[in-house]
């Protein structure tokens, strides 16, 4: 009983402490949380704390505006404040060339909260950053060659040793005048014949299979994963950030090529995201900030002034999925009409940091899919003209329509 009381008491005490702690923390940053929410919903569209965007960086805004009533009036309705002819305000308008929308709904207390948040956030940003950047990613060492050398060396040693053992054996027999043992090697002996035969057949099979695989893989590029001019990770963009493939590859639904996104597509986000914001150790800031900076150098963008200053030059991305010249493939037909996921042909792209060709893109692989895939026959108007097949479907003569039924395996569909 006493024990139970003690624990209850202890719990009460910790609870009290915790409560006291929380309240003190809250009072220390009064209004910061409210300010943060308001900042995010009202200001963040155009302003950052430590960097210029559409509007100026907001750190030190209180020092820049000597009269706080002017600042409050400016925030509430910038245009009417401009009309008063304030020098600083007019200079700002000239520099940024855009009008800040009016915020009549903000009260003085609201604005004070926002300013508290700005100061707190600026102080946090000014504090020396915690060094989270790991060293450069070490390349995985390939030890296969070393292993082979070791295996061969060991095999030679084993052979020499077995020879030595054999000769020693013979010498021992000679010394004691024993009759010499049978010298026929084991694989010539009659009783091992089936085993030798079996090994021979297995060896032949293995050789044929590896020859076949190797010869057919020629020109197919399966496993090709070249280094690209920018260390762009599909895993970060399509996987972690869940950006739709078609956001960048705008051609996938519209034409033959899925389209390599132009640099302006990168700038949709990287106009604003100028460095790695996450703390994932797989994507160290030291490495990836430089990769983002590469976009700016290609497109000629100056991230400190937010202006396009120099002549853009193209990035020479390396093409990975290559079909031979004599094959016609159209993305729109598969993505838009067929409704096939990108991953069906390209593998789990959203998990690849470096894109690798997963499928062999051989003709057999194409044909297999054309034979086995059902077509969205009833829901897609594209297939309306197939009157006979629609009739058969209606009558229940066939259960579904495969791609092969509408000519997906005819030669001239892809080769012409």
């Amino acid at each position: 009983m006493q024990l139970k009381n003690q624990t209850t008491f202890r719990r009460l005490l910790t609870g009290l402490f915790f409560f006291a702690f929380v309240t003190t923390v809250n009072t220390a940053f009064a209004g910061e949380a409210e300010g943060k929410e308001l900042f995010q919903s009202k200001c963040q569209r155009c302003h950052l704390i430590d960097k210029k965007m559409t509007g100026p960086a907001l750190q030190g805004v209180r020092e820049r505006w000597t009269d706080s009533t002017n600042l409050y009036a400016w925030i509430k309705n910038s245009q009417s404040f401009l009309a008063t002819g304030d020098k600083y305000a007019n200079a700002l308008y000239k520099e940024y060339g855009s009008v800040m929308p009016a915020f009549p709904e903000l009260t003085d207390a609201n604005i004070a909260d926002i300013l508290v948040y700005i100061d707190a956030e600026a102080a946090r940003k000014a504090a020396p950053p915690v060094d989270t950047a790991a060293g450069p990613v070490e390349a995985k060492k390939d030890n296969t060659q070393l292993y082979w050398i070791l295996i061969i060396a060991l095999a030679i040693i084993a052979m020499i040793m077995s020879r030595a053992v054999k000769y020693l054996n013979v010498m021992v027999h000679q010394k004691y005048d024993d009759p010499a043992p049978d010298q026929t090697p084991w694989f010539r002996q009659r009783r091992f014949r089936p085993l030798v035969g079996l090994i021979g057949i297995l060896l032949l099979c293995w050789l044929s299979v590896s020859m076949w695989n190797s010869a057919t893989s020629l020109g197919r590029q399966q496993g090709y994963a070249p280094e690209q001019p920018i260390l762009y990770s599909h895993k970060v963009h399509a996987g972690i950030n869940q950006i739709d493939c078609k956001y960048c590859h705008v051609g996938a639904e519209r034409g033959k090529a899925a389209v390599i996104p132009s640099l302006s597509v990168c700038m949709n986000c990287h106009y604003n995201i100028q460095g790695v914001s996450g703390t994932d150790p797989n994507y160290p800031k030291a490495v990836y900030d430089k990769e983002i900076a590469k976009i700016y150098s290609y497109i000629g963008f100056n991230p400190s002034t937010l202006k396009y200053e120099s002549e853009p030059k193209p990035i020479e991305w390396v093409k990975i999925h290559n079909l031979p010249d004599h094959v016609y493939f159209n993305h729109a037909q598969h993505v838009k009409v067929g409704g096939i996921e990108c991953q069906t042909c390209h593998g789990q792209i959203q998990e690849m940091d470096v894109v690798q060709q997963q499928e062999n893109l051989s003709m057999g692989w194409c044909i297999n899919c054309h034979r086995n895939s059902n077509v969205n026959f009833t829901t897609n108007d594209f297939y309306k003209p197939y009157a006979v097949l629609h009739e058969k479907l209606k009558n229940g003569e066939i259960e579904n329509v495969k791609a092969v039924d509408i000519g997906a395996t005819e030669c001239q569909k892809c080769h012409y």
Binding site: Q222, N241, D244, Y271, I273, H326
Partner: protein, 228 residues
């Protein structure tokens, strides 16, 4: 005899397999060997292939000046054709503060929120291009914003300012970009932009209807409570 057998065995087991398997497979930076390079790698210029003669070696060129891409399948000379011609012509209101104000009334949406096809197509494109920041529901809570990666949080479409915003202004913003948002004319032609805006207006109309419904039921419940 023995010698001949040995030679045959050597050829069969060592030389032939070695020949067939010695071609290097694709891995890393190496695309792998091929039998027929000029069939595997197009001699003709494929999309984006390097071109030795053109500026920057780019085979992808800008369209010829003053040409207009025609999207649609309307028959020439019909009413459908004049509509789609108007949609195919370039957007002419300039990207200036005056243009922004002008767009509010000068731009007219050819679609209405009753047009099911327009709303559906609009949703399809909205989910690809807009939802990542503006959120699938249009509340400004897209994945990239809630995860904290993107600092410029977009507004909710259900703020009074945006509820009152005209479709023409929205069209102007989507075409030229606004504040942190960049232009989306690269991905959406005029017709598709109008459909996306139709979908946003539909979201707003649904939201307004839901608000009105709760406002109506609230006094009713209060009244019934009073009656009791």
């Amino acid at each position: 005899m023995v010698k001949n057998t040995l030679v045959v065995a050597l050829v069969a087991v060592v030389i032939v397999p070695a020949t067939f398997t010695s071609c290097k497979k694709a891995s890393g930076d190496y695309p792998g060997d091929s039998y027929t390079y000029d069939m595997n790698y197009s001699r003709a210029y494929e999309t984006y292939a390097l071109h030795p003669e053109l500026p920057n070696h780019m085979s992808a060129l800008m369209p010829v000046a003053h040409t207009v891409p025609y999207v649609g399948n309307a028959v020439a000379g019909t009413k459908g054709d004049s509509l789609s011609m108007a949609l195919n012509l370039p957007y002419t209101i300039p990207n200036t503060p005056e243009g922004y104000l002008l767009a509010a009334t000068a731009n007219k949406n050819p679609f209405t929120i009753q047009d099911k096809e327009a709303v559906e197509t609009g949703k399809h494109f909205f989910d690809i291009y807009c939802a990542i920041c503006h959120g699938k529901a249009g509340d400004g809570k897209g994945v990239i914003v809630t995860s904290g990666k993107y600092t410029a949080a977009p507004p909710s479409y259900f703020d009074p300012v945006y509820m009152a915003m005209t479709e023409g202004t929205m069209f102007h913003s989507v075409s030229y970009g606004r504040n942190a948002m960049q232009p989306y004319a690269y991905a959406l032609n005029k017709q598709e932009r109008w459909k996306v805006i139709t979908y946003i207006k539909k979201l707003q109309a649904d939201y307004a209807a839901a608000q009105a419904a709760t406002a109506q039921t609230a006094p009713e419940t209060a009244a019934t409570a009073e009656a009791k």
